[in-house]
Symmetry: C2
């Protein structure tokens, strides 16, 4: 398979999309695939995982480091800027097998041609290290100036964050100390340049080299550096300097090689092979590249923001995306990362308990948008009205109760997949029980009924706020009660002492009552499950008709008065997600009827939507119906067509949940992988255009190879390393 994607010509306005598409990352940092010459108006960023800052009343968001990949050249005092001087040739590409971004640009003038090329990587071997090599070349004698260094003018959505940025030049090593005074965070970026003894001017992080370049003589420069923050170390300056001092003129190739080697190891387990559908094959593996680029490996309690490390969108916050869409991929290919995602939530439990209290609930109410340690980043005003420019009160933060069940779902999945029960003792059980207590406190028994209801919620379909008895939410609450009971049972066997200490008898009684009496909407006469009380009474309008009602294309469809709010049009899979998760409790016809009913009424306005449809279609054995939904998810990153706006808020970036979702369709849907009695099993149903499907996965510390062809399929354990 070809692991390279490229642009073969220059498009002035594609920098926003290209930033995501050509992104390189290593879980510690994400470097947007913008060009060396680009400054903040083109949204370059070195987005850092898990470090946040807040400026006055703006949204709290992750820090972008000062950009150490800044370079441009001047030839005979003419600036060579692709965005200003249209290039004669331009090519940029990403080798997504090895995480290397490169570009080559040439400009033509009356004297001849000038070429500039560069490549860069962030190390998968040591997440703090980055490197770049660039060169210039001309077919005529010219005066070349190279400007290169650390650009302190950082692109921020809700910045500027750095209240002080200073530079030091230590033995040819440039150190940038950027201080975010509001949160007392420090970001250190070092950089060491290797360029044969040319003198240079140094100014505010940028070096200027002047040289006379002879025709056909190429001049090459490499630089490497390190990034550390005050989150990593008490003395990030020393850490960065120590690493950087050790670099010499060979280091670039050495570090690059080390990084490539780690990438190769990753691909060994995660590469998938779809025989007969190269488009899907490339898109899928490219999506996995993104999942690998943002997976936290350097810390054991980090999770992944909804837009990965592609920028500050959505406040760099962790959503249910992590547990419900991404977790499986890491469980199957890198359980240590999966564990990190789970540990992150366990560590967030105290704040989740505080949040529940804040709203008068018991137990643990997880943040809808979670920053480090479980800080709730979601505001009450998450949308700006396009007509009045006023912030609009939204209920994501205080009513999207299903978030806590996602944490439970993640932990249970982790345990069931890894059989690592230690995590239960180390906070996992407590987390699950607190989540169950949270749902208990949401239960309401109407005077005339012997059922418990959950009212006033926002389900996965966020266009319908403040609804009652959302099927998904109620079912997940029920699942949470069951999980808590299971988890107590496990504790009983696994750690009787802990079980004793917890005095859980009263809770067992309550969870059992709640499990038995919570109201779960049943399929109606047509086999359709009502998404929430009253949904069936809403206006039944086609998606096209609805769209025609838009006055402004950036209007938010949801909220109290959005065009979708009083109609049956939903944002994303809701009942469909519920049925996918609990598919073995429902008849295949119910799955199919609900798929058909809801799919035509779904905007798929979230990148989380298509994959759930793809999965569900596989559950009722229709891989060809599933296929376009799979492809849509798998191609989300490569096509970069995701929604860019919610009201006046920019929401673009990468979509790791869609990638994780596509992987789920592939592995759980088309291959039909499931686990029973401690063993993996498959029940393949390939799309008709596929000849075969091959992938590896881990389960309970064992490694397996799945091979599916039209006629034959098998799972084999792989015994060697």
């Amino acid at each position: 398979m070809n692991f390279v994607i490229s642009n073969t010509s220059f498009h002035k306005d594609s920098y926003l999309d290209d930033g995501n598409k050509f992104l390189i990352g290593n879980g510690y940092m994400g470097v947007r695939g913008t060009l060396d010459e680009y400054r903040k108006d083109k949204f370059p960023s070195v987005n850092l995982a898990g470090i946040y800052d807040k400026v006055s009343d703006s949204w709290r968001e992750p820090l972008n480091a000062p950009n150490p990949f800044y370079t441009y050249i001047e030839v005979d005092t003419n600036k060579c800027f692709p965005s200003e001087e249209t290039p004669f040739n331009h090519k940029q590409e990403l080798n997504f097998r090895h995480g290397i971004f490169s570009r080559k640009t040439s400009w033509k003038n009356e004297k001849g041609l000038i070429h500039f090329k560069s490549e860069r990587f962030v190390s998968m071997n040591n997440c703090h290290i980055y490197g770049c090599k660039f060169s210039a070349f001309s077919n005529y004698d010219c005066n070349l100036s190279i400007y290169t260094g650390i650009d302190k003018d950082v692109w921020d959505i809700n910045g500027p964050h750095y209240t002080k940025i200073s530079f030091k030049d230590i033995d040819n090593l440039v150190l940038c100390n950027a201080y975010a005074g509001n949160s007392h965070k420090t970001v250190i970026v070092t950089r060491k340049d290797f360029f044969l003894n040319e003198a240079c001017e140094f100014n505010d992080g940028i070096k200027k080299f002047n040289l006379h370049l002879k025709a056909f003589e190429e001049v090459t420069l490499t630089y490497l550096g390190a990034i550390f923050t005050s989150n990593d170390s008490l003395n990030p300056e020393d850490e960065a300097i120590n690493i950087t001092c050790g670099f010499n003129e060979n280091s670039y190739e050495i570090e690059k090689k080390k990084s490539i080697d780690v990438w190769e190891e990753l691909w060994d387990i995660c590469e998938v092979n779809i025989d007969g559908d190269e488009k899907a094959n490339i898109s899928m593996n490219y999506s996995l590249y993104h999942l690998n680029s943002i997976a936290p490996r350097h810390k054991d309690n980090l999770s992944i923001p909804a837009r990965g490390l592609s920028g500050q969108v959505y406040k760099g916050a962790i959503f249910w995306d992590s547990e419900m869409f991404m977790l499986d991929y890491y469980l199957y290919t890198n359980p240590k990362v999966a564990k990190s995602l789970i540990e992150y939530r366990i560590e967030s439990l105290p704040l989740a308990i505080l949040k529940a209290k804040e709203y008068g609930h018991s137990g643990a109410f997880y943040p809808w948008e979670s920053q480090e340690g479980g800080i709730e980043a979601c505001t009450y005003y998450n949308v700006i009205d396009v007509f009045t420019k006023r912030p609009q009160r939204t209920y994501f933060r205080d009513k999207q109760y299903h978030i806590s069940s996602a944490i439970v779902y993640g932990i249970m999945k982790y345990i069931n997949h890894t059989l690592d029960y230690d995590i239960l003792i180390n906070g996992g059980a407590e987390t699950i029980i607190e989540c169950a207590k949270f749902y208990l406190s949401l239960l309401l028994k109407p005077f005339y009924k012997d059922k418990y209801e959950i009212l006033d919620v926002v389900g996965p379909d966020e266009y319908h706020e403040r609804v009652n008895n959302n099927a998904y939410t109620n079912k997940m609450a029920k699942y949470t009660f069951k999980s808590a009971l299971e988890c107590i049972e496990i504790l009983k066997n696994y750690s009787p002492k802990l079980y004793e200490n917890k005095k859980l008898n009263e809770l067992i009684k309550d969870f059992t009552t709640a499990y038995e009496k919570i109201y779960i909407p049943c399929p109606d006469d047509n086999g359709i499950i009502e998404q929430f009380d009253g949904y069936f009474k809403l206006e039944d309008v086609s998606l096209d008709n609805l769209k025609s009602r838009l006055i402004d294309p950036r209007e938010y469809w949801g909220g109290a008065y959005g065009i979708a709010s009083q109609t049956k049009i939903i944002k994303q899979a809701d009942v469909v997600t519920m049925l996918e998760i609990f598919h073995d409790e429902y008849d295949e016809n119910i799955l199919k009827n609900n798929f058909n009913y809801y799919e035509t009424r779904t905007e798929h306005g979230s990148s989380l939507s298509a994959c759930m449809h793809g999965l569900l279609a596989c559950r009722f054995n229709e891989p060809n119906i599933a296929y376009p939904f799979f492809l849509k998810s798998a191609e989300t990153e490569i096509k970069g067509k995701g929604k860019k706006w919610a009201g006046l808020i920019y929401i673009g970036g990468t979509h790791p949940a869609a990638s994780g979702g596509a992987y789920k369709v592939l592995v759980q849907g088309f291959a039909g992988l499931y686990f029973k009695d401690g063993k993996p099993k498959i029940k393949p149903c390939l799309p008709e255009n596929w000849n075969g499907l091959y992938f590896k996965f881990l389960y309970n510390n064992k490694k397996y190879q799945v091979s599916i062809t039209k006629n034959h399929s098998k799972i084999e354990e792989i015994y060697h390393g």
Copy 2:
């Protein structure tokens, strides 16, 4: 006291306000105080009580009859229209002791002066009859044309309603048959003109008289007629003709005299006398004039629309205004009218039960905006957004649960005042019990609590929609449970058989539980009762600051994103109303603290707000604090300053609830009238600028006179007639 209000000059743009201010009515019809010459662009109307029609998707609203008061003159072929030709003199006045509207206008031209005057009444003696006398006069010889007749071009808000209008001329009697085809309603207007044998042309309801008018010779015409609808009779044409045929040239004065006599009877009981404050005295009596003009006397099951009979605003619907604000006045002065208001609700019970079912509740959920028989007129989209022109989903219809408690409050008040327990057997008890069942079905018991809550409601303060545990709503629900229990107890004694039949034991148990366990918010450490869960956390902003945030002056302040919605600013008395109703359960300090806290945060955007503040201030013995609130209510009609717009919806008209509320402040607040052990008592607290207060009232079939002076106060029973 002077019972005349007037305009002594002409204002081209005052027709909308004047229509309300100079309105005449008799409970069957309300005739807006517009000039004889005015056609539908100036909003004349003969608004009919209790007869409704709906045109396509527009709002269902009451019918306006074709206008039989249409007249204009032409002098030497020049039209004399005050709105086009500025009058030399103009005066219009309302004698509100007798319900007579009159006007006098003169125009000046190069030849001399032309005078036109008219007076009109609608009969308080026979509600179908109307009459008018007009005359013209000039100080020079001229050719006069008089155009006079029935204007079929009716002003409608959501019309046109008449699909067919035809005229017949029967022996000098003009009959207009207007047919509203959508609802198959017929409105008949007859008119007989008395004008000494002048020949005329007749065209489409309008007669044209041509005559040569000598200088200083006055020409006078009287006309009388009748209005009947298909709601009144199977044969409204015959009814109208029968009456009208009987009229002769003396009839105008005779019918006018009969009407005046009935007015005098009304004033005998209802006139109030405020000694030392003529402004308040006139305003109050003028307000009572309005209450008398719209009181249903011709039918025993009608209630009063929120805008009286001043037009089609608010769909001519009945709100909680009737029971909570107007009822007392009629109980005290005309219990038959009070009974009609109550009977109207009892008759509406079946539809209220259906409405409760529609929303999955039990019992009786009364309409927020009630048309005949209890048809719910309130739409889900009661506001038009000023920015997008889109209808805005509002929750008045489906969440303003407190409406049913108002019905209970009304019935209990009626029984306690009249001791007419028959009404209980004739549907009253059933109504109360069904309302209590309704509140039972709203009760929700949270898993962790031993209390019942009512969630997701709209309280009296409509700016905050979908709130939980609104103090007013919960308290009124509790009151309803108590009333149901009391009413069952009365039945037990009063009609043991009926009691047996009803098998009420189970209900007694449930109502008792509910009464004991419903959650009622308590005063906090500062003595303040939180209006609803979370109110204290809202932004505390001044009214002026809030107003400065308006982008468009017509913006709706409430709804999901209105400027008030996320702040503590409320539309109208909410906790204050609750405390006024239940003032004897709270310490005076609590009453005062809450008054002070909420009053500064109240827009008083509803005409229902001021009177409740006035009443409450009297409850903590501060008549001087109460006074401006009393005056505001009492002057609502005479000043005509009420709110005219909610979003893009016109909401102007008369405000009988404000008038009724002012009366309550006067009688229950300043006079401190209350009833104990079957006897009326007073506990006066007059504003310092008043010397005395005198009024009569009825209680339990007895008539009393209250006389309060600075030094002395007494109640005496009046034994004659």
